[in-house]
């Protein structure tokens, strides 16, 4: 049970981060993976095995949309964009996250 909950938490966090990234620009899976590793300074090790299911879950819930594109060097890739619903979700989650992290921060400082 404990392990499951951790996984859920991470999953939720990952989706949150994906939405945050897509807010700036549309990305494909590969680029997104590297951007995440870059931004988090390798603290979050994101694997393809967790990223792609997260993307598909977001798509199924209507927070992102995807379409096939062909890049300048003729490479096909599936490009993800954030939808208006995704933006709203991101805002909501950001608020939750801020409150949560403030609370944890405060606790940690006091302790």
């Amino acid at each position: 049970m404990g392990r499951n909950r951790t996984a859920e938490l991470l999953q939720g966090t990952l989706e949150f981060l994906v939405l945050r990234l897509l807010r700036s620009q549309p990305l494909n899976g590969w680029d997104m993976m590297h951007r995440l590793q870059l931004v988090s300074g390798d603290v979050l090790s994101v694997t393809a095995g967790s990223l792609y299911p997260a993307l598909h879950r977001l798509e199924a819930r209507g927070f992102v949309s995807a379409s096939w594109t062909t890049s300048e060097n003729n490479r096909r890739a599936r490009l993800y964009k954030i939808t208006p619903a995704g933006r709203r979700q991101l805002d909501a989650e950001r608020q939750v996250w801020t409150r949560f992290s403030t609370a944890v921060d405060a606790l940690l400082r006091d302790a």
């Binding site: 494909n28 899976g29 590969w30 393809a48 095995g49 792609y52 997260a54 199924a60 096909r76 599936r78």
Partner: protein
Amino acid sequence: MGPLPRLRTRLRAILRPSRADRDLRDELQAHLDRHIEELTAGGMTRHDAAIEARRAFGHLVQTEEACRDARGIRVFAELAQDLHYAARMLRRTPGLTAVIVVTLAVAIGASTALFSVFDTVLLKALPLPDPDRLLVIGETSPSTHSTAVSYPDFLDWRARQTTFDDLAASMIIGGVMTGGSEPDRVFGRAVSRQFFPVLGCRFELGGGFTELQDRPNGERAIVLSHALWQRRYGDDRTVVGRTAIYNGDPYRIVGVLAADFDFYGGATANNDFFLPLGPMTDQPFMHDRTSHPGLAVLGRMRQRITIRQASADLGAVAAALQQRYPVTNANETVTVRSLLDDYVGDARLALWVLLGSAILVLTIACANIANLLLARAGARTREIGMRLALGAGRSRILRQLLTESLLLAGIGGAAGGLVAWGATASLAPLAARALPRTADIAPDWRILAFAIAVTTVAGIVFGSVPAWQTARVDVQPALRNGTRTSTGDGHRLRDGFLVAEIALSLALVAGAGLLLRSYARLLDVDAGYDARGVLTLRLRFPDAAYRDRAKIASTLRQIRSRVAGLPGVERAALTTGVPMGRSFPDRFAIAGRPEPDPRRAPGALILWVTPGYFRALGIHLVAGRDFADTDDDRGALVAVVDEAFARQQFPGRDPSAAIGERVKFYDSDPRWRQIVGVVDHVRPGPLEEPGGAEAYGPYDQLEPGWRAEIGRAMDMAIRSRVAPEALVTAIKHQLRAVDPDVPISNVRTLDETVARSIAPRRFNLSLICGFAGVALLLCLVGVYGVMSYAVNERTREIGVRLALGAAPRQVRGLVLGRAARLAALGAVLGTIGAVALARLMSGLLYAIPAGDPTTFAAGVGLVMLVALVASVLPARRATRMDPLVALRDE
């Protein structure tokens, strides 16, 4: 096409990748390609890069599945896969599959067939608009058991109620319809004009009655049933406005009912014809609130009124009437029930018990199947362990196993549908004799829904525990040990199912036993007459042709002597009512005692008979003498009473003490007559009901006016030396010779009448015995299966015991002892269940207490016996085991 591409196409066909699936694979492939590209750009060989990219990616197939899961599309693809796999598994074990499917087919088929009867009787709406708003309203007082209503009370209710659209009254009447080729004995109802509108029934032609017809001296109008119209007028659509002759008088036909008319049954249930009630309301007895012909009152509640509200409303009206008419209406209360409830009556309880029994059988079947699957779970440990090791999730395996059991259930359900089809067809004629509303049992959506629901639930019930047990295996020991890894848990589960199965079977067996004993007790009842070889029939003289009183008596005498003279006829007698037919309650007084108030006088059923009646019916004369031909107008007035009468009126004395006493009957002939004989008590109606005091008087000594009136409808009882059925033609021939316009009806043997009266019991009994039989059979199979499995599993242990010198008897004891322990536990639990079931069905029992210890003990004995018989073979196999072979096993 080479073998490899062919395999690939086949695989693709099986998996049928959807567009989304292809997209997903392309997307992940693009990711890999990108990585490979970057790695080769960094100097790696293409081969190493491919390997490295795959390594970095992680589990490709798992990711794919996770993505499909995330999108929710996986379920369908997997379902197809699961079904495919499940079908293969079932094909691999055809024996097991066949056993399960047959068990399910029988259990689902039986419950569905029974449900189709249940549905037809209790759930199907009456063919009337908003039938739920129709109520039957009766009045009961402590003195009368009937719920019949007096006409003035009906009028008051109708005027004062506030919760009904309207109330209508009806009364059963009967007579003769002439004017065609054959006279017709018809039964119908006199109804107030609100009757048809309240019912809301449809007409084939014309309509109901108007106010001009429904009043004293109103126009003579008649409504015909569809069947009578067809029989007498052959579908003639111009019949409205024409004249029908009923009891010799002309009536104008104003309507013909639609074919689907159903009021307590079709045309045969006193619905041949309808007359307006109004013309009969000028007779004084219609205005008597105490002694009245008895009306049935029907009401249609207003929209959005509940039965409770309607009942409270009428209760208040009845209370007001009590105040206003304290003498006649004291203690009279109103009873209200829905038309459907009143219509189906006792059938409701019986059908619930039967449906419950069918579902018990289905539950037992499920327990049996669960055990079979649990046994197989042991055998599949290795397969499941392998799949778990290869990365399948436990939930995925669970789903796979449940799919298997649902597929099994589906096949069993489909086969059960066929069984239900056949069973319903053979059940229908039995049901038609035993239950109301069963004239045609047609499948409808409720029956289909029931079958599907039962099948699904059964699949989940018998599949979930084995699936859970199977999917629970630990990977490593499963792979190491192979098949023999079922745990102690498996034992306990199997034993648990077996105990449950035995317990449920015991409950059913005990229930069946109680019904069986009730039935036997009922057959043992001494009804007071000997039904064998007796033919009964009813004569009805058309009123107009027999206005002359003397003509009726003389015609009756003629008929009687002609029939008595037929070869094969031992005795023929006339009576005002044969057993289970009409009965006339009367009140009496005994001479030499203070004269009672006629209203409070003791009651007895009185029959007016011709000499020979007692011998025709085989009613034993206890003391005194039978009626003789000399007991007529010229002779002294006499009567015969029964033992119950004698005991009640002359308690503590021999029944013959009644002889010589004088008695008079207020209602039929209030003249003193001397008791000359005492006969055995006769059960007048259903065999269950003992009935009270009875008396007989000579028909030829009735006051002439009343004699003619009563004589219009007389029953004849004929004891024959030959098969009674063989006489029917000859008797009809004699009657036609006397008067072709006198119809005879109700021609049947008394045996048949008795059989009809116990047909509902027979129906319940044969069904529940069938269920109990199936339950025992399932138990037999179940115990055998579990014991065989236990012996197999303990092969090694038994081998060791035998090798160490254990006697075969000890080994046999080992197996039988276990079976006995389980059966005993099941018997204890089952007895509790049986007590509960018996209490529920106590309304169906006769002369047997619901907690009858003998029946329960016999049930326990039977179930234990079955358990032991079923374990004999496995036990014998255990003793015959070759220790060497047994020890090498593993």
